[in-house]
Amino acid sequence: MNDERQEEFASLYAFGLLEEPELSAFRSELERNPELQRLVAELRAAATALAHAAPEAVPPEALKSRVLASAAARGAKGPAEAREKVVPFPSWIPWLAAACIGAAAIWSQRQYAAARAENASLGEERRVALASLEETRAQLADARKLVTQYSLQVAELSTKLKDEGDLAHFKIATLASMLGDSPAALAVAVWDPAREQGVLEVSKLPALASEKDYQLWVIDAKYPAPVSAGVFEVDPVTGVAHVVFRADKPLHAIAKFAVSLERKGGVPQREGPIVLLSP
């Protein structure tokens, strides 16, 4: 850069008129060139002296008061040296503060890392627990289904057992033929003590004359004579009869059932021969 060129750049620089890219190159040269620095200082002093060439104007008196008032208002944060005098501030305090902040930052980072790891672990445990909970819920649902099924089965079994229990209380007897000419005649008597009612199924019993009836008797240990349970007829062809009967007296301890041949309509006390008899 020749002297004239340098002077031109320095002149423009002194007025703040130098523009890129010359400005950057000039600044670089200025940093390392003391002679150029001196030239710029001289030209800048000459340029700023032009302030005296402006038409003279006197600022209002109030402006000075305004400036001083503003400076007083900013006094607390005024010049740096003033702050140093008013509030002694050892130079090591910022370093100590920086060290404390650094230590706090490291501690916080570690705490954060630990908390994050713990959080991850807890998250994993939570996922496992949720999976286990779902599995348990599924098992519980299955168990409830089984309970329902078992309850139904229990109910069925209870009903069945009740029926079987009730059946156990029934008195069932087979009446064999006492007739020499009709040895195949047979009857089965079933007595339900709860209902105090019975059923008699008869087969191959000979048909009777019109003035005769078969009469069913119940031998109960509590009574000295057989208790009548009604009369019946059989089918004249098949010798079959289905008879629902009740006793004339309350029964307590049935020992045997017997069928006799009696007058039409039956008799209070047995008169005719026994044709069927249970053991």
């Binding site: 031109e8 007025f15 001289e42 700023t48 302030a51 005296h52 402006a54 006197v58 400036v67 010049p79």
Partner: protein, 226 residues
């Protein structure tokens, strides 16, 4: 737009030797009334700023008394607005107050620092004004105005001008008119090189050369007067 520069009509093109004892020995320029030398003023201002750095508001008041006139005149001339000029001067003195500790007298005089702050802030305000066309056409007077008026000092204010103002105006008056005009626009207008060239209808290279030659001459002239 007239390019005739009233500065050529400036009555102090030849400083009044009855009031000043301008010497060209390169060291001191003294007024006949015994004003202090420029070096003494520079040292005094530097001392005020050092006191300000220590929180001395009396020093700020003294510095204000010393610098407020040229700073306000500069801001008002750039902005052509008294209220804005007052705001600029206010802000500049607060900046000096708050940054006094950073002042380095080895890098320049306090006056140069203050003028640079004032000019930059005023030009910043100027450039933020919305109407750029208005800036180019109206905000910059064709001349500095001190040929037809003497600012707030009135027609007889010449006698009241400071010795520094007399010295600068005298030095300017010795420059060719085209160089005076180039320096005026370079300092007060806030225009770029190209805008100055456009305003003066000259090639940009010519403007750069005028600014260089004018400023070098001004430096040399002021070296013997300030």
């Amino acid at each position: 737009m007239s390019l005739a520069l009233p500065i050529l009509r400036f009555p102090f093109a030849a400083p009044d030797s009855s009031r000043t004892a301008a010497r060209r020995d390169g060291t001191v320029w003294m007024s006949s009334e015994g004003e202090t030398s420029p070096e003494d003023r520079a040292r005094a201002n530097a001392a005020l700023i050092r006191r300000m750095a220590g929180g001395d508001r009396d020093a700020l008041a003294e510095l204000y008394d010393s610098l407020s006139r040229p700073l306000y005149s500069t801001a008002k001339h750039i902005l052509n607005d008294a209220a804005e000029a007052q705001d600029v001067v206010h802000d500049v003195f607060l900046a000096l107050w708050e940054n006094a500790a950073s002042f380095d007298s080895g890098r320049g005089a306090a006056f140069s620092w203050a003028v640079t702050l004032t000019r930059n802030r005023a030009i910043d305000r100027l450039r933020t004004r919305a109407n750029r066309a208005r800036l180019l056409g109206n905000s910059i007077p064709d001349d500095l105005g001190y040929g037809s008026e003497t600012g707030d000092l009135g027609g007889s204010g010449l006698a009241e001008l400071g010795d520094r103002a007399v010295a600068v105006r005298s030095a300017l008056a010795e420059l060719p008119a085209d160089q005076q005009r180039a320096l005026e626009l370079a300092f007060f207008s806030g225009l770029t090189q190209k805008e100055i060239a456009d305003k003066l209808s000259e090639p940009i290279g010519t403007i750069k050369a005028r600014i260089r030659r004018g400023l070098i001459k001004l430096r040399d002239a002021l070296a013997n007067r300030l």
